[in-house]
Amino acid sequence: MKKNSLKAWLYLLPAILFLGCFMVYPLVDVLVYSLEEGYSSASQSYYGVGLYNFSYVLRDPYFLQAVKNTFLLVIITVPLSTGIALLISLGLNAIKPLRGFFQTVYFLPYVTNTLAVGLVFMILFKKTAYTDGLVNLMLHFFGGGTVDFIDGPYWAKMFVLCFYTVWVVMPFKILILTSALASVNPEYYSAARMDGANSRRIFRKITLPMISPMIFYLVITGFIGAFKAYSDAVALFGTDLNAAGMNTIVGYVYDMLYGNSGGRPSFASAAALILFAIVLTITCINLLISKKRVHY
């Protein structure tokens, strides 16, 4: 038995080593950093212990801007993407020919490089000296004014960011919802039709409750994912997100660590812990609601 135990731990050793170095130790360390006041990477010294880092971050206008951007992004994209994904999945579920083709097409954004395709969105929305960009031309065609979505007003930039985020998260949601819909026993639909329910009622009373666990799963993961948004913003607006006014909380953390305002891991840690607290709170609220609303 003793020999056996030793052998088992040997099998686990690589995983434990790596997890210890790059996950457990950092977790403890990030707490330490967040409490060390005035720490500087250059001198590797600090002059006090306390909550100053948190209060600094919470008063930093860049951080507040990042929080505002992130919350807006979350509130707009999570319901929107889940709703559209549900509609598309229902549409997919109702057809037979071409279903596989559509499923394949819809999944494409999942396997693309966020940064690379973000550039395509940028040139579609950007207004330059040479051209107003395709989107603006279309707006113009339908009688609207032109606006620079990449370097223009805040709402326009926010719109592009949300649009791109929805585009990027859609494949995962469609995939999950289509398989959830496909796993509903078709006998329930037959039964509901026999009971004279029209399609809207079948959807509200049968389909929706049956797939509600998966919808809540998507909402929860969607919230978590959207709170950690960063790469999409970089792809559209470049690395200097503070200047563009489009930074996100995660972006703020990385900027504190590295880049123009970098070298301050204490502030980064404080900001990361604040983000973690927000995500944890929201997830708990989500779970509480889902306990009440989801039937099984």
Binding site: S5, K7, A8, W9, Y11, L12, P14, A15, F18, L19, F22, M23, P26, L27, V30, I84, I88, G91, A94, I95, L98, F102, T104, V105, Y106, L108, Y110, V111, T112, N113, T114, L115, A116, V117, L119, V120, F121, I123, L124, Y130, T131, L134, L137, W167, V168, S199, I224, S231, A235, G238, T239, V250, Y254, L257, Y258, S269, A272, L273, L275, F276
Partner: protein, 291 residues
């Protein structure tokens, strides 16, 4: 007679409703397909337009009659795109390979071996799944910097070779293999290691392939960690490369060449996806999330 007419009406209405619904459904689905495909079309289209014709089009043309591959040559010659490519390939292969070496024995130990503290260790592993990467990246950045591993492959690779989630996924899969096989192997005098490599891994091949594919996608698209840890273009991965192209390279002016680079970067994963479509989609629905 009147009742008869009534039935006819109901029948016709039901049929009409069905047709209308079907048409609207397809219209809607095609619309979203266009939304998804259009950026891809646009990037390919732009990449084959010549620099001068792109810049002379105030209203962009939706097709081009004189496609050119010059932009691709430009993309590879003006910036070290081939280098970024090679770096990404090395990074992806090494990370994925090392990860498999780390997670397979761990999953095996949890699934098959009995040892003291197993329950505790496994619970601890599971609880690590809840830790967001953003939280640990900060210290890892400092650690790698202090070890002078910035701008090295070791610095890029080491922090991402374990995944608690994949250990969990694999362990669940290993546990599905019936006990009798293990007993039979023990009776035959097979060692644990040989049992793992000769019996368990072949049986679990579908799951292993799924994990490899998901990890490859993740590696190929990773941006944040490489950006933190590399500032020397010699070690840039494609994501960082494309960002560099956009901010400092030819991208500002030469959009067609930038799109050519984007096409080249996106192509491998799309090809991989088209080949392993079913596997990838099944794998993702079993527990992948983006990023």
């Amino acid at each position: 007679m009147e009742a008869k007419l009534d039935y006819d009406l109901i029948e016709r209405r039901a049929a009409l409703k069905k047709r209308l619904f079907r048409t609207a459904d397809y219209f809607f689905l095609v619309l979203w397909a266009v939304m998804v495909l259009f950026p891809f079309y646009w990037m390919i289209l732009t990449s084959v337009k010549s620099y001068s014709s792109y810049n002379s089009e105030y209203i962009p043309a939706f097709f081009t009659l004189t496609p050119t591959l010059l932009n691709y040559r430009e993309a590879f010659s003006a910036v070290p795109l081939a280098r970024y490519f090679l770096n990404t390939l090395i990074f992806t292969v090494a990370t994925t390979g090392l990860m498999m070496v780390v997670i397979v024995p761990a999953a095996f130990a949890f699934a098959r071996l009995e040892f003291r503290g197993k329950q505790l260790a496994f619970t601890f592993f599971l609880s690590l799944m809840m830790i967001p990467t953003e939280l640990v990246v900060i210290t890892n950045f400092v650690t790698i910097t202090n070890l002078h591993l910035r701008n090295t492959f070791a610095g890029l690779i080491l922090p991402s070779v374990t995944s608690v989630f994949y250990i969990y996924l694999l362990k669940e899969n290993f546990e599905q293999i019936p006990d009798e096989l293990y007993r039979a192997a023990q009776v035959d005098g097979t060692s644990d290691f040989k049992y793992l490599t000769h019996v368990m891994m072949p049986i679990s091949k579908p799951t292993l392939v799924t994990i490899v594919i998901l990890k490859v996608i993740e590696c190929w698209n990773s941006y944040i960690w490489p950006r933190l840890i590399t500032d020397n273009p010699k070690y840039f991965l494609v994501s960082n490369g494309i960002q560099e192209i956009r901010e400092n390279g030819f991208g500002r002016e030469n959009i067609p060449a930038m799109m050519a680079a984007v096409v080249v970067i996106s192509a491998p994963l799309i090809v991989l996806f088209l080949i392993f479509r079913k596997k990838i989609m099944a794998g993702v629905s079993r527990g992948g999330t983006k990023g």
